[in-house]
Symmetry: C2
Subunit: 363 residues, 2 copies
């Protein structure tokens, strides 16, 4: 069960096979127990939530403390119960800014290892670098998966045009749905019989897909080169759907977003946006950019390596809006941008896929 299936539950196209594409692909062995602990900010458990949504069939339950306010709606287990229920690996699916474990997390990971679970995490602070964790893993013969170790070789990008079609999700901010949108687009293309592969660039996407490059952990000199490696030439008339990161207008991460745009050489971009976000994530002094300006800048940057790049849609996260308001907003944005505007979760991505076909973006 579960340790190689792509999250979307559809057969992967040949180009996706990690054994072919990824020299050092990791296969994290399920079933999984998803960590919540006592984390209070929903954004900070996005990896655990992503696994619950896109790998639901491989997750036995969740681990949370009595005073933890969040739940993924899965059965609650302690570590021994999870092992008894068949769990093989604890997914430490947390993403705090700075990427370090606190004392609670370290103690929990040690307890999980002692109970017989392997542990996977995607933090900047590697599991193996916490002495208590390394010791517990060694003592019990347990595996530690540090998903943020870049799998890509250290190579500079070339900007050299390559075969195949690529779509990149970009955003007005961090955590606005770039991964969700990319996964839904991948599934939608496959459901129409088009070969398509999700190319993961963040810890959550990598855990869901089972392979990828944690692009924000790559040495800066090799940013675009890592994306060229992640999404190599393809000759099957299919699409690579590449998960975007950050935003050109986020002062902490725009360098990453720029390297991604240049390495991806996208034929198509989809702009992702959270309409209720009042300021950039973590930066109360920075406004969210206007979507038209943001799209224009993304296209201007992308043209350096693919002059034919087109915007093909806008993707909103309307989870916290009333349905009529969300629909009205999608309509207004579609009118303003001339692009299909969807919420992948509530309305699906069909209008964007229609635009992709209608524009007949060349292979």
């Amino acid at each position: 069960m579960g340790h190689v299936a792509l999250g979307m539950g559809r057969p992967r196209s040949p180009a996706y096979d990690p054994a072919v594409c990824y020299e050092s692909a990791r296969v994290i062995v399920g079933p999984f127990l998803l960590y919540i602990g006592r984390i209070a900010n929903p954004l900070d458990i996005k990896t655990s939530r992503g696994m619950a949504v896109f790998r639901r069939e491989d997750c036995v339950g969740e681990f949370r403390h009595d005073d933890g306010p969040l739940t993924l709606g899965l059965p609650r287990f302690d570590f021994a119960e999870a092992v008894a229920a068949g769990a093989r690996t604890l997914i430490l699916g947390v993403a705090a800014a700075g990427g370090r474990m606190d004392a609670t997390m370290i103690a929990d990971v040690v307890a999980a290892l002692d109970a017989g679970l392997d542990v996977a995490a995607g933090l900047h602070q590697r599991l193996r670098d916490a002495p208590a964790i390394a010791a517990a893993a060694q003592a019990g013969g347990r595996k530690l998966y540090d998903v943020r170790d870049p799998a890509a070789p250290p190579q500079v990008g070339t900007g050299q045009p390559r075969a195949g079609r690529r779509l990149l999700t970009v955003g007005t901010d961090c955590a606005v749905g770039k991964m969700y949108t990319a996964l839904h687009l991948t599934a939608g293309l496959r459901s129409r019989g088009v070969a398509a592969d999700f190319r993961a660039t963040g810890q959550t996407g990598i855990m869901i897909a089972g392979a990828g490059v944690p692009i924000d952990a790559v040495v800066a000199d090799f940013l675009s080169g890592a994306v060229e490696w992640l999404s190599p030439a393809r000759h099957d008339n299919g699409w690579d759907v590449i998960e975007g990161q950050g935003s050109l207008f986020h002062p902490s991460f725009a360098g990453v977003s720029t390297g991604l745009l240049h390495g991806a050489q996208p034929d198509a971009v989809v702009l992702c946006h959270d309409p209720l976000r009042t300021h950039l994530r973590g930066l109360p002094h920075m406004p969210v950019p206007d979507i038209v300006m943001c799209l224009d800048r993304n296209l201007a940057v992308a043209r350096l390596t693919n002059p034919m790049v087109q915007a093909v849609g806008v993707s909103l996260n309307t989870a916290r809006m009333a349905a009529p308001d969300a629909l009205a907003l999608c309509g207004a944005i579609a009118d303003r941008t001339g692009l299909p505007c969807v919420d992948p979760v509530t309305t699906g991505v069909a209008p964007i896929l229609d635009r992709l076909s209608a524009r007949a973006i060349a292979a």
Copy 2:
């Protein structure tokens, strides 16, 4: 002699003191022997050349093989002769794309260590990671300086406005004079009695200044944060002159350039350009961008963290042009851009400094 002096030979202002500003500043002990080996491309010995130009008084000579076509015009020594002449450290001042040592370089470094020299390098491949080098250093009790180890702590940038004035050199391409221009501007400001500090972001600049952050070796998530750390708030009405890297229009390195722009929050930018460059370095299929378009894009990106940013000059490398042609070109570019246009080496940077004063960029 020589192990803390700033290359420009002027007293450093208080904010520059590495012991104050750089927790893990390295002080590479001179006098120096500069490595050329048998490298044939002048661009690939830019670090050795930078030391010969800006730290001349601290260099005893150069090391090159009989079949090496390049020279820095310094006395030629073998390693034993260099030690006898007082050299303490071999500067492996080479910068090959990919950043790895070949077999010749490794053998030369081992011979230098055996002869009693310490060795400093700034390559992606660390000296300590070459087993023969590590063994020779250990056997002889010699020091290895790996300048490309980032000194900055792993922290994300905030984009939060900070006190002080900052000038960043940007470029149409790699290796077009961003470091030279920054060093000349720093010296020029000091000669006018203005406090100014050169903030190094590349291996050559770091070796010249004795401190800095090799920005292309920083993990991508921390790019702008590293620049915020390198050039912290200052309150003495002086300038930080920050060495730029890459180009927004170079598909290999634009991510680095973007992070630098956002982290630097420059009040002023100077665009550096090589008028004889026919294509981007290393990429025959990519043209050099137009200077006006390049300046406009740099200003657009920089405005995210400093809406008041101004362009204050254009800096050309006219070393391979006839003097009348160079002067005519500077005039034409000045007319077209409305900015002073200089070659720092041949004409000096006074017109740019005048523009800085005239515009009275606020502290």
